[in-house]
Symmetry: C2
Subunit: 290 residues, 2 copies
Amino acid sequence: METKPIDGKAFAAGLRARIAEEVAGLKASAGLTPGLAVVLVGEDPASQVYVRNKAAQTAEAGMASFEYKLAADTPEADVLALVAKLNADPAVHGILVQLPLPAQIDANKVIAAIDPAKDVDGFHVVNAGRLAVGLDALVPCTPLGCIMLLKHHLGSLSGLKAVVVGRSNIVGKPAAQLLLKEDCTVTIAHSRTRDLPAECRTADILVAAVGRPEMVRGDWIKPGATVIDVGINRVPKDDGKTRLVGDVAYAEAQGIAGLITPVPGGVGPMTIACLLQNTLTAAKRQKGLA
Amino acid sequence: METKPIDGKAFAAGLRARIAEEVAGLKASAGLTPGLAVVLVGEDPASQVYVRNKAAQTAEAGMASFEYKLAADTPEADVLALVAKLNADPAVHGILVQLPLPAQIDANKVIAAIDPAKDVDGFHVVNAGRLAVGLDALVPCTPLGCIMLLKHHLGSLSGLKAVVVGRSNIVGKPAAQLLLKEDCTVTIAHSRTRDLPAECRTADILVAAVGRPEMVRGDWIKPGATVIDVGINRVPKDDGKTRLVGDVAYAEAQGIAGLITPVPGGVGPMTIACLLQNTLTAAKRQKGLA
């Protein structure tokens, strides 16, 4: 069997173009410019890169981008005050507080302070609850991107067996909810699962979201399955440099999987594109346009 | 293999006794009498029976019981006003609005109006979200009862394969969340599942919550599995009367299942006992005692 890669980079570029088009339309028809505020506390290098990319892509989509960079020793109360200000600001439709936060700040408290209508990360309990009970929700970006790729490549997911490996609040659990909403039969597997390879081999759709380099081996994959690899792990190379690998042994999956997302270039680029999608959705809902 | 019935009636009676003891202690030590308000709109006969049983068991546990019976044509605004009054009443720690509600009343709106801290049915999106992300939540009573029975009979559930058939917000989905929290590998199956018998046969713990009389057949059960039958279906008998059956063909399960909840007398009695448990939990949390 020939294994085809899923080009998340190209799909994300197309999605961003469609978002930019809709944003241009909203500006013209409703005078609405969706706005995304990103709050970064401290100087974590990876976070700085993410925030820079988010701001650049927000601006490219024609949205307003508001960046707040706070010192690493900013007290929790100041972050909460900023969130309250952004909640009240009508030009801001989406608020993202970049995680992780420094130790003096309780991330749960900050997330709980964000207006659920502006919670474009989809981490607020109200959004988790709305997703769980089947109401319109702002859904975490990475699993939302996974589902978009799956629907684009497979069409209807109804009746397919999906196995999600990993049960984080950010990826595994919301991915399972979304797959269930698409009428998949869904299994959530994790570190306590007794025979993980056997569970994985039942999957028509296998979502790996564990953060362990190449943990899912080729013989864990059912022939013809669609594999969504959410992992982004940096591992050393022989020359002393590093390279990125997923949670799936990509080379081993060749000839077994039907479709697979590469790392990088698979799920990764979808995350920011879905953040823009969520910001657009949030703006439209706040204006009564969706 | 001998199949043992799980005596939910006896377990529920023991749970109610433990709750009554704790209530007596709270009265003595903290002057706190947990209070449950039940709102019934209209005269649905089954709802009347439930509400009567809830009130009686609440009083038996030493808690304060407040009953509100409203006419079937009560406007939505009046129900919302009553909920607001109960939210503000410090003697009321739990609020339950009996479903179904008459057509002029939007149940989602009423549930959303209940203070999540007093939402002892666990239906509010904030409680669904708190359960989903792993925070302390008020959990729907029936799945909570299922988990209690499982833990009582099996001890640790870690690593066991659980299959939940049915994905309602009231039973299936929260049951899956609770089983995941207990470190089960969890599959959610439903009407679109392709080979439901085969999925069920993988289960160490099989939870049937579909509302279809005896749908789960004996040969869907893995030998030795624990079967939790949430269904309560009334079916006609030859003599023109009716009898209650579950979602599982109980007679066929004999000699195959290791443990099984009968209908009636299995999961059913746990629901009200867990409502009392939730009311106790809510009261303690509201007083900062839990």
